[in-house]
């Protein structure tokens, strides 16, 4: 592998919302070691970028219909709730935002340097994009763009649980299954987030955030089992490790 490849950015801006299972300093250290560039830690994205009327702009990006992109003028209560989410930094699960529209809004809020460098927003918000083949929204764990987003809710709700999990009663799930899907409060969350952060880096480096090799942490997991095997426990495959090494040794 050639070692002349230029890193297309010199800094990573990492926005994180508070989460008990995420340690921003550890994430910063991880990224520094992996990519060998400056990492600037920031707080809650919408708190830091707050301006009057932001809550209305966010509410406008809510998914209204599960099969098509429809945007409606938000009702006052929806704006009030968005205000509360920003101010309290809490999540209200069940609200899904159009990932493309919300990313466009976030891009609009980035300063010039953040646009030029690599900016990632870790959020508890649920981001969906329309799956063209099925014509319906899917909740996403990661959206690679400017800025990129890693969604905690997306990690929990996005990759599907085994069919038996949905069919089983709660007690059955607890008693019979040795497989534990990702929970909102989960010690495995940070490992998964690390993998998705690396996916956004690869999108920026190569245009391809995913790897088709099972076992690589860039694998595009559609199931919770895959998430556990590849994002939580997995490492980069040899090819992707080599690419990162080239950038590190530039």
């Amino acid at each position: 592998m050639n070692s002349w490849i230029e890193l297309p950015f010199e800094k990573i801006f990492l926005y994180t919302e508070e989460h008990d299972d995420l340690n921003p300093r550890r994430l910063k250290k991880f990224l520094k070691e992996k990519v060998s560039c400056d990492v600037v830690l920031k707080g809650d994205f919408f708190q830091e970028k707050y301006h009057e009327g932001l809550e209305e702009r966010i509410a406008e990006t809510r998914v209204r219909e599960k099969t098509k992109r429809v945007f409606l003028k938000p009702l006052p209560k929806e704006i009030e709730i968005e205000n509360k989410i920003i101010k309290d930094g809490r999540n209200i699960s069940g609200i899904i935002y159009d990932g493309i529209a919300l990313t466009a809004l976030m891009r609009d809020l980035l300063d010039r340097e953040e646009k030029r460098e690599h900016t990632v927003v870790i959020t508890k918000r649920s981001l969906g994009t329309l799956e063209m083949n099925e014509n319906r929204y899917h909740v996403r764990a990661v959206l690679a763009s400017v800025p990129s987003s890693v969604s905690i809710t997306g990690i929990v709700e996005g990759p599907a649980k085994p069919r038996a999990y949905y069919l089983a009663g709660k007690k059955e799930k607890e008693n019979t299954s040795d497989f534990r899907p990702m929970q909102y409060s989960d010690e495995r969350m940070e490992s998964a987030v690390r993998s998705y952060l690396i996916q956004t880096i690869f999108w920026r480096l190569t245009g391809a955030p995913f790897c088709s090799k099972k076992g690589c942490r860039l694998y595009n997991s559609h199931w919770q089992k895959e998430l556990m095997d590849y994002q939580v426990k997995g490492e980069l495959c040899g090819d992707h490790e080599d690419i990162l090494r080239c950038f590190r040794e530039r």
Partner: protein
Amino acid sequence: MFGKASESDVTRAIVREFGKQLEGYADSEVIVIGGGPSGLMAARDLAMKGRKVLVIERNNYLGGGFWLGGYLMNTVTVRPPGEEVLDELGIPYEKDGDLYTTMGPHACSKLISEACDEGISILNMTEFQDIVLRENDRVGGVVINWTPVSELPRQITCVDPISLEADLVIDATGHDACVVSKLEERGMIETRGFGGMWVDKSEDLVVEHTGKVHDGLIVTGMAVSTTYGLPRMGPTFGSMLLSGRKGAEIVHELLD
């Protein structure tokens, strides 16, 4: 065994008392449209705070879907922390895993009884037909008629409705969101229609979105789901009770 009364005495007593009630509630502090669990809970809590509350119910009976749990089975389920309301109302229940179950008829009749004991007034068999609009399109009351009027052929039911005034109106009409839909017909609001069933998310969202939807109008219960396009939750009632309670708190604050 019984006291003496003629047919005309009975008729006069009914007319007199009903007339007194209707006259007294021609204007109220709060009119609750819909006597289901969220409407009754809101009305009961407001009456407890000393508010003058009138409940309009289109059916002969109050309680809406609270009599039955689902699929005609009369066990009602409540998720925590809804059992706190059951405790408060004196409704017995049992724990079933993470859920609480109770007999629909018992729970419903207790809620009705509590609301009546607190002093709400009720017009049943009365259909909400329209809103009264004031300056800046504030909702200032409701237009009502007897329920049977809309069920009969038009040529024999050309009966004008009457109006009742209120400082605030609560839309607790369930999925139909009848009051909100009158605003929508006039292009003053765009509702989203309720989504698919998702019990785990919908109850929190309904309570969270409960509140003022327009000047003079508060929305509670499943009407919240229709207004904001939230998922439905099926036969579980904790959020209906808590949404009604939250609606009452908001109304009480607005009236102060």
